[in-house]
Symmetry: D3
């Protein structure tokens, strides 16, 4: 869904046939400017949808603090300017985008901070497909603004074999072979494994990437070592750990891996998005622009 | 936006031109059943969009624990049945709806519980227009499932004069008169006030409802008394308090009001929705249906 | 439905894949101007859709006699200018909007004139939901151009309990209580009554507004008096009379009410719209613009 | 625009996010039946959109008096059956279609009756493109139900050269030749003429059909005779008279032509549609269906 | 389907949520110019969709060799200019339109060349409704660019009675009479005939045009003569031959008819479109524009 | 674009407001059956869109010769059954899909046959993104029906760095590194190279796959050997040859490679699709179904 379409539908949802209050109380010809400011410390995200909201209503949007930067309480992050009616009618939808996305960026930044040491060798944290329907690309952008990374975008641009696929295909090997035969050659095959045995089977079957599902630290370490030691023409698989991942857990895992000289390619956390609350932002209409 | 359209776009976002993994690994003719269960205690919400997801993919959905009811960890809340491919492809989108909405219902229920005494005379709590774009009617339904109530739906079905309108109209009285003249006779006029002076002006100008914005408990009490004592042909206004409302604050306010024998019509809290996290639910494919 | 969308579909209906005649006979590069003029006395209405028609075809529209003003036979009410092909292809759709809407405005003005005395104390006349599908907001605008007022816009922005609702709910009291419980606090509850008994019941149940359905003058007078004399915290209900309302009937009713010193809040008439014929307007292409 | 789409948008216009009153007062599970009946004598038209309205809401529609047949006051013309909520929510939109279209059919029938003698040799009356935007095919169907006939459907399925085209093309002959060269071979070329000179020019240029614009009876007679007497390989042109046509005018013209033994192919009247008022129909919910 | 909509969907098909490669490798701010050139001799066609592709991506398109003109190998036919990302992302879709349409124009021109003699009295060649779904108007434009002509556009703007219609209607005469009664007066009636007997019947029934289906040269000659010799008020019918028409066949037929002094109005060939291959064009990004 | 939407738009293009001929000549109630048969030897493809065409018109489609199977001249490949009007109105659109797609499947099969030896060790042939706008997934399916394979689906599900990207990124190495950093971990990075030097650079930079652009047989052999001999942790790259590939060229290349004991992963050919002509199929309405 294109951003312009998403915003058009969002304005349709809130404004619909008309903003009765604004049409009744705000004179038609009035123009003005409004500032949007942080009411708490946050990482800013959401300028694109906010700008689109005001653009569709005939106003403009100017960025002050860019996506991915921090704002302190009271700091202005952007200005809207144009017809007063547009500013007031668009306020809520614009803020709903900005507050949600800044909330995700802020929560992601706080999570990443828990395990990013001074050595700079932080673990790569990925999001998942646990995203709000129709807001995925915005939320994935917010994750990047917060300092984490994106997993595949959707079911059509990556192959990830999960437990239900394995059962349906009749085993890990069968599933990997079927996927390799069906997918075009530019898609890697990732396979979720729940045990060391499944890991060995997936490596033997030619998986390009492995998702270690809900394994404890010890098992993760064992898996990394096995992967390194399994001889394959295509080299070791790419390895990702997932399930019950939190900031503190990752911080501990990172120390453990560093002490053993091991490398994990990524961890993935749905919570970057689904445990985030909205950040607090507000809009205030100011004097008319000069 | 109709639910069917929302779900269609949501499947488009996640599935798009095709679920590569499932098409490669799950046989075309397979049928089965999947159970969706709670992984923590929660108030269930979201059966309608979940059912629509599976319906659009050619499967069916059966409700076990209804919207608004509680589920304990491990409890099945619904079953999907039909083509295996449909179950597996639809899993994520269906869960994304269920987890978000159950999260809001659960958070709302917890908030309401903080100030609902044995006397049963709890304060009425309303949501606001701080909702996720395109998910408003679902989120407002989740709020009801959690035991709270809905404010107006959108800008087109209620008149609420806020500070920016007052400034643009040239004062509280002018804004209320303009709104009364422009709105059809079945819409009440609510006006936000930030001081006792504004309250008196709004009551004199004929406001049907008053929103007390960011007032402390004392000011709320004063406002309620003034409203009762102001003689008007149409009787006292309906009064709502808003701004910085939390469960504990409301619990205290409720005790204070009861001790004074006063009645507040409602409080409104955006946080019912924007401070909620997703509830944890999971899906597991089971044997084929009999 | 946004005006731009309505006009886009309307041009699709008439022009579709192409205006064969114009494409064959009018040179591509030609530009010109066309005047639209009244062929009879009328109240003008419809500039917005006419302008949108020409805008979508790449031409412009200039208003001469504004919406709500009168035009005499022969008087120019607007000019279109731009590519000759656009002027000629858009002529019919633009006129179809202008002629319909001017017809409604003219008919409404004539109706209102029947009972608007020199004292200026005319009765407020409202339209109804008897409007042409997809043309409602335009037709309601035409009603205002003709000097009358609008009832609620649609089923979603006002509560009006009619006879079928009363039957389904199990009585007037039950219906009003159900509506009050379900509707948000900014919506008033109007109830249609067909007898004085129903009126008393509706007032006692807390209806904010009353629609007197098909009552004769005597009954209307009685209803007004009862409403005034019924003690309610919220004061008297707002009262509207409807059913078989015509200009002459309203003129008589107005005299009767004035002689008794009584006040009726409104009468509603579907006929403002559904008894109107199109006004006669024509377009003539003139010389190319300077 | 497909009927299903037109009805979907029409329900969107009236119901939008929800019928507040019906949802509040009518129990979810109730089913019933409603009869729609004539409140005055009329020619019925509009069953298709009415049926589609109820179908989209989950109810059904049964035709009693078919499109094109007459109904007397009080006569039932159709029944809706199904969920009570669907019947009540759909009532207004269904009636808005039925009342408009029956009004056109009734007005057309009355107009045609003015000049249809016992000899059965009535003149053929055509509609025009003066139709309500997005309702054209329904209105043209209503015209047929009333006993008249349809002109071309739109700009894309017929060639009709009007005065503005003639001016732009540089004369009648040039316009007809351009149209013949550009249009595919299955489209005839009709040319509007305002004088006998233009008629002769159009016949010589090979027009397949002629529209006599605003000519008086004498001129019409002269035109018919000239057309008959002009030798052309393709025979005489098809002739249509238009402009200021009313029932009485046509009745007189018909007598005149019969007395002279002359034949006019058609007259066209925009007024069949734009001078029609809505017919009066009503719906009443009855007991639940057996 | 409007061109803008077709192109929007086409970009959606190829670009969808994003051009991963270009977004990763091409800097955001870069601008440039690209030339599109012929890699073989061809008749150019497709500038309109190519321009629309680049316009929708924020770039511009300049025509060098116009639609319908010839280009030699290596010759530049147009330039795109604007953001580098837009040029590279839009390349494939723009070329897919240009290569397909130029292929049809080139194939049509080659076909027409086979039977267009120095006398200039070539037979008129028409396309058919055998076109690529959603590309019809573009393909019909390509046919004109190649020097041939268009038959009717679609099922709604021309009447052509084929064998299946004749069977369903109960004979040629019945089918023609039904069509004449139902179609508005500006549509001619064409009837397909498979024998001389059917031809005579169609002429007697008043067909305006005749399609000779799969007749050999001798039968075509006979049909033309019969048509000329059949006395009808409306003169001879318009005659078209179709079925197994190829360039060489038409060349021979043309010589035969000329030698007999006979005239055939048209031949129709689906192969103008469905036997065409794509022409070879390529795009190369050049230095940034001055 | 979903198939149902594509077919809906395609019917809109051809049928639009109505099939004038069929509505006039085919009785409303008639039902029947039609067979679609091959008029030449072909590989069948297109049952899905054909079935959807008839389904949307209210008829059904039964497959006789499945997609990917061969049909001999005269052989029935499917039957449509249902309302006669639906069969006749849908014929052209259904055949337009079937003829185009069977043409591609047949051409692909013939191409593949040129180099598929009895040893069964044929080269893998891929299509490209040179497809008809909005028909890509159907055409790619046709390619598979003809025995070849698919490259990536679109710009969003695979990374392929081409010459223009290399220039914009500032070199092969920079482009590959940028792509690896930006793409999620499940997408492989393919890079087009035009020389052996570029090949070495791409291998060193970590390309997962290599496209040899327009190299002669000798260069292809050299590239394969270099790839095998370059030591990389991730093993040799996947190699594809493209540019000026024809059946005979591939046949020769295959023999050469086999003689040298070398393996090429794939060749890609846009011509599988853009050099295909339509296959010849016809529909005949038969007696009504029993």
């Amino acid at each position: 869904m294109k951003l312009a379409h998403l915003v058009q539908l969002s304005l349709g949802e809130d404004v619909g046939p008309g903003d009765v209050t604004t049409e009744a109380t705000v004179p038609v010809g009035g123009v003005g400017r409004a500032r949007v400011y942080a009411k708490e410390g946050l990482v800013v995200c959401g300028h694109e949808p906010a700008a689109e909201v005001f653009r569709q209503l005939g106003a403009t949007w100017e960025v002050v603090v860019r996506d991915g930067q921090r704002a302190v309480p009271g700091q202005t992050i952007g200005h809207a300017a144009g017809p007063l009616r547009a500013l007031i009618t668009g306020e809520r939808v614009a803020l709903n985008f900005l507050m949600r996305l800044s909330g995700i960026a802020t929560h992601t930044a706080a999570t990443v901070a828990m395990f990013s040491g001074p050595s700079g060798a932080a673990l790569r944290v990925l999001d998942t497909r646990k995203t709000t329907p129709l807001h995925r690309s915005l939320e994935k952008h917010a994750v990047r603004c917060g300092g984490a990374f994106n997993h595949r975008g959707a079911l059509y641009d990556g192959v990830l074999i999960k437990d239900n696929h394995v059962v349906a295909a009749g085993g890990v090997t069968a599933a990997i072979h079927s996927a390799r035969a069906a997918a075009h050659h530019l898609l890697k095959i990732e396979c979720e494994v729940e045990s060391i045995d499944e890991l060995r089977e997936a490596l033997a079957a030619g998986a390009d990437a492995i998702l270690l599902d809900n394994m404890d630290d010890e098992a993760v370490v064992a898996a990394i070592i096995i992967n390194q030691e399994t001889p394959r023409t295509s080299g070791p698989a790419w390895i990702e750990a997932s399930g019950n991942m939190t900031g503190p857990r990752i911080a501990g895992l990172r120390v453990l891996l560093e002490s053993r000289g091991l490398r994990l390619d990524a961890v993935s956390m749905g919570g970057l998005i689904h445990q985030a609350r909205w950040a607090d932002l507000s809009m205030r209409v100011e004097a008319a622009p000069a």
